[in-house]
């Protein structure tokens, strides 16, 4: 099917973007890479009289690295981030991007679009949550920062206010002796994950000094597994990773859908966490 009619706005300044969103209110929608919005419009699940295309706002396409973080502009295409030397300093982000769809999707899809879209099976919201990223929002009141832990409210729902756009995401850097991994179960490479786990660890000798575990496809947002992280840090070098997987899975209440049953998701959750942790620990030790 074809999308319904709309008026296309292509401002070059972020102030104009914010102005257009204020002017048209609920009738306007931000268009970034279009890889989620255009299918929804084509399927007539969504229709907006005004699309505010942010691709020509040059300030939204910058990537910059500071001592503690890498800041990725909202409009940075996923394919560019995949090849970028600064993004490579955030290994979990670099490893997650190739899991997004296919290279023909990543060439258009943006880092900010994926996070603002907040699909619970998406990889980049989970990366933001796992790394305690800071989301930069720009609106009529100027710029504010939102912690990733407070950003994802539900399926396709975020803490962005009406009239605000996601302008950038700051991903904190982890120190030496760290390792990261993304593990997913999908029917086919490139499909949305039925379930997935993203993990990061920092070692202090044989001990795990820092850990993050985030799961996707098991709730209406990506889910951070704090209890499992604490257990991994508290446990010694010989911690059974299956136990950590079970602790991560215990509070989950995944849903049934056409792709997989809740029971299946529950069943594979511990294993997928174990796999991600095994790979992250291996990388941290190497």
């Amino acid at each position: 099917m074809k999308p319904s009619q709309f008026q296309h706005h292509a401002p070059e300044q972020i102030d104009e973007v914010v102005g257009l969103l204020a002017e048209y209110g609920d009738d306007a929608k931000v268009l970034a890479g279009g890889q989620s919005l255009i299918p929804m419009m084509a399927l007539r699940m969504a229709a907006y009289p005004h699309l505010v295309d942010i691709a020509r706002v040059a300030s939204l396409s910058t990537i910059s690295a500071s001592a503690g973080a890498v800041r990725v502009g909202a409009m940075v295409r996923q394919s560019r981030a995949e090849r970028d030397a600064s993004v490579a300093k955030v290994p979990l982000l670099a490893k997650a991007i190739p899991h997004i769809g296919h290279f023909q999707i990543r060439s258009r899809g943006t880092v900010g679009g994926s996070i603002a879209h907040a699909d619970p099976a998406s990889e980049l919201p989970a990366v933001a949550l796992a790394l305690d990223a800071r989301i930069e929002a720009t609106g009529p009141g100027g710029v504010r920062h939102i912690d990733a832990s407070e950003f994802f409210l539900s399926t396709w729902q975020t803490a962005l206010d009406d009239g605000e756009i996601l302008s950038a995401v700051e991903f904190p850097l982890w120190g030496a002796n760290s390792g990261f991994a993304v593990e997913e179960i999908a029917r086919r490479k490139g499909d949305f994950a039925l379930i997935g786990a993203l993990a990061g660890v920092t070692l202090d000798g044989a001990r795990v000094a820092r850990a993050c575990i985030t799961m996707i496809g098991v709730g209406s947002t990506p889910i951070r597994c704090h209890d499992a992280e604490a257990a991994l840090i508290a446990g010694g070098a010989d911690t059974d990773l299956d136990d950590i997987g079970r602790i991560a899975a215990a509070p989950l209440t995944p849903a049934d859908d056409v792709h997989a049953s809740a029971e299946y998701r529950q069943h594979v959750s511990p294993a997928i966490v174990r796999r991600a942790l095994t790979a992250a620990l291996k990388e941290a030790r190497s």
Binding site: M1, K2, P3, S4, Q5, F6, Q7, H8, A10, L31, G34, Q35, I38, P39, A42, L43, P49, L51, D53, A55, S79, G101, H102, F103, Q104, I105, S107, R108, R188, K189, G190
Partner: protein, 160 residues
């Protein structure tokens, strides 16, 4: 609201100017206004890959790009990948390895394979399988397509 907008873009090396509705998909503009019917449309929501073209050198779904977003861009379709005489190495490999049957998916496969091999000169079989996972074929089966990818990869790296 259905005012037309003027879009200037380069298609297969040629400067073009079209008047389009903002909602016009790049795929439809290529086919209906520029007569480049090699680009096929099937699912129209990004899943099948039949509509794949190059935009500024990168493979993309032309069903998930409004023509207005392609203002100033350089677009290459399957027609633009075909040499004036004969076939490209990817097209030849598709023919040699029985990579097509009805041919509906073939333009998208040729564009995707060409784009991938241009940036990944020595892929493994597993990498080729991943790379081609974004293109659906409903009649040939994938073995011939993967064999074609292998042949094209080997010949292109041998000749470069």
């Amino acid at each position: 609201m259905n005012d037309r907008t003027r879009v200037q873009l380069t298609v297969n090396g040629q400067r073009e100017q079209v008047e389009v509705e903002p909602r016009a998909l790049l795929a439809d503009v290529l086919r209906d206004q520029l007569g480049l019917t090699g680009t096929h449309l099937a699912c129209e929501h990004g899943v099948c890959g039949a509509c794949t073209v190059l935009i500024d050198g990168e493979a993309a779904r032309s069903c998930l790009v409004f023509a207005v977003q392609a203002e100033g861009a350089s677009v290459t379709t399957v027609e633009g990948l075909t040499p004036p005489d004969g076939l490209s190495p990817v097209q030849e490999a598709m023919r040699d390895c029985h990579g097509l049957q009805c041919g509906f998916c073939t333009p998208g496969i040729v564009v995707s394979m060409t784009a991938y091999l241009d940036t990944h000169p020595n892929p493994t079989d597993a990498e080729l399988r991943d790379a081609m996972s974004g293109n659906l074929c409903r009649c040939t089966g994938y073995q011939g397509i993967l064999a074609a990818a292998r042949q094209a990869a080997d010949r292109m790296s041998a000749s470069s």
